[in-house]
């Protein structure tokens, strides 16, 4: 049959109200469809990343640290147990960054496919939300695998350790949303990849209490941790996995900090997507 014989017309076929209600899901579906093309790479990274880190640093470096720390351990636990929740949060944040920043630059600049999507009934808000939802899917997958590897390494000591999964996803979501908004503004991605990853991401990773407690740093360097989503996520993760001592106030501070990032990120990514598409 040819398209001219079977034509019904969009007035019969397309339900604009349905697209208005579900549009973000259609975008997420498409993003995940593309993501699945590299599913083996994603699975391999999701497994190799925790295994390599936990063996080399958690067990390798940890054996020296545990020897020196004696029974007190680091924060009262083995180094591996101390380190693992921080690496879980870092993996969540890295996964969220990959799946929000790259598709955003690609959609606006490399392939310009966001402009094609915007020629359909879908809006900038829906495209931004769809990309974000797809990134959450990847983060969920990464965090879940990481958590099970942690379990296998005996790094989960608390009965509420399963709560480290939603906590890490929440941290990934907050940071991912923020970077998605930033990526929507980028005209020159080279700047982002050279400056941002070297001078912002790397210090955040090193100075967020990831490898040692934040208060081991001189006070004038501790502020890096305070503004780092990774530190807030790590503190929450440690609280979930081994009863790391946190006051109720600080528990709320961590949650509110990440929530604020999430809300700001979602608001501005939707806004910047819409503005850039209308240029």
């Amino acid at each position: 049959m040819s398209i001219t014989q079977t034509r019904q017309g969009s007035l019969r076929l397309v339900n604009a109200a349905r697209v208005q209600a579900r549009g973000s899901l259609y975008v997420a579906e498409a993003q995940i469809h593309t993501m699945l093309k590299w599913i083996w790479l994603i699975i391999l990274t999701a497994i190799a990343n925790p295994v390599l880190y936990l063996i080399s640093i958690g067990i390798g470096v940890g054996s020296f640290i545990d020897k020196n720390a004696g029974l007190a351990g680091v924060d009262g636990v083995k180094y591996l147990t101390f380190l693992a929740p921080a690496l879980l949060a870092a993996a969540a944040i890295q996964g969220a960054m990959d799946e929000t920043v790259f598709p955003t630059i690609q959609g606006f600049k490399w392939y310009k496919n966001f402009f094609a999507i915007n020629s359909t009934p879908l809006t900038g808000n829906q495209i931004a939300t769809g990309v974000f939802l797809a990134a959450l899917f990847r983060v969920f997958f990464t965090v879940l695998i990481y958590w099970f590897v942690m379990l296998a390494f005996g790094a989960l000591e608390s009965e509420r350790a399963w709560l480290a999964i939603p906590t890490a996803i929440f941290a990934g979501a907050a940071f991912g949303a923020l970077l998605q908004a930033l990526a929507a503004l980028l005209e020159d991605e080279n700047f982002f990849f050279t400056v941002f990853s070297r001078f912002i991401m790397m210090p955040l990773f090193l100075f967020s209490g990831t490898f040692y407690p934040l208060n081991a740093m001189p006070i004038f360097l501790q502020w890096i941790g305070w503004i780092s989503p990774l530190w807030h996520a790590t503190e929450l993760g440690r609280y979930m996995t081994y009863h790391h001592a946190i006051s109720t106030l600080m528990l709320w501070v961590h949650l509110i900090f990440l929530t604020i990032l999430l809300v700001i990120g979602i608001y501005f990514s939707r806004r910047f997507y819409t503005e850039r598409l209308a240029k």
Partner: protein
Amino acid sequence: MSEPLISARKLTKKFGDFIALDAIDFDVAKGEAFGFLGPNGAGKSTAMRIIGATSQRTSGEITILGKDPEVDGPQIRAHLGVVPQQDNLDQQLSVTENLYIYGRYFGLSRKFVKGKIEELLTFAQLEEKRNAKVESLSGGMKRRLTIARALVSEPEILILDEPTTGLDPQARHILWDRLFRLKEVGVTLVITTHFMDEAEQLCDRLIVMDRGKIMAEGSPAQLIKDFSTREVLEVRFGSERNSEVANTLRELCERMEELPDRILLYSEDGESLLEKIYAINLHPKTSLVRRSSLEDVFLRLTGRTLIE
């Protein structure tokens, strides 16, 4: 004209001080193939983005399918198929995946889209490339895929911005044939082009644009009749002598245009005019009699050629 599908009044778009569209009026009827003809920078693509409900006007009015694009953009876009000037296919995906995903953006069911893909592959002559990645396709194939993609939702209006720019003659003719077929089943076509032959082939009616303004409006035949003669005699005396003989030639014809490389003489009978030129002992190095085209209309209206 029946109730227009697209209606614009004093439509204006400014980018800072630059006026891309200067208070233009036009109507497009259902089932019509309507063209915007003009050189690069005339404002055609700006008009297309406003009609595509993705860019906002600065002032004036426009309704598409009876709706205001600034209020009901998504509802309008639900019934448009858009072929942009530059292909924006998803390079990471295959031919069928591009069609599938685009269909889903319109909320079409997976089953419907899968069936539709087969029809579209046949229509675009891409059956053998169904699993090929987009980046491996030729320019003509990508263009046909972009058009096929725009048709996945069976749109009421198909918007084509410079549909055949960059294509070889054979690929252009294949595309024109496909567009004719769509028109036959009642799809309204809105086309921009700076190719006069394309405008003549495809458009029932068109507006000639220059610097954001409408210079003329009508069917290709009517525009030629109104703004040119039946035939044109093109003569070349060599770049140095062209201006020497121009004044003499001007006396022999209805209108004359002197271009850097040749002289165009407008007349109802080009062969007779050429005989007259020989009769006064002028011998052009080359001569060509042809029918008037939209290029001549544009030259008459603006004093410039379409492709400069």
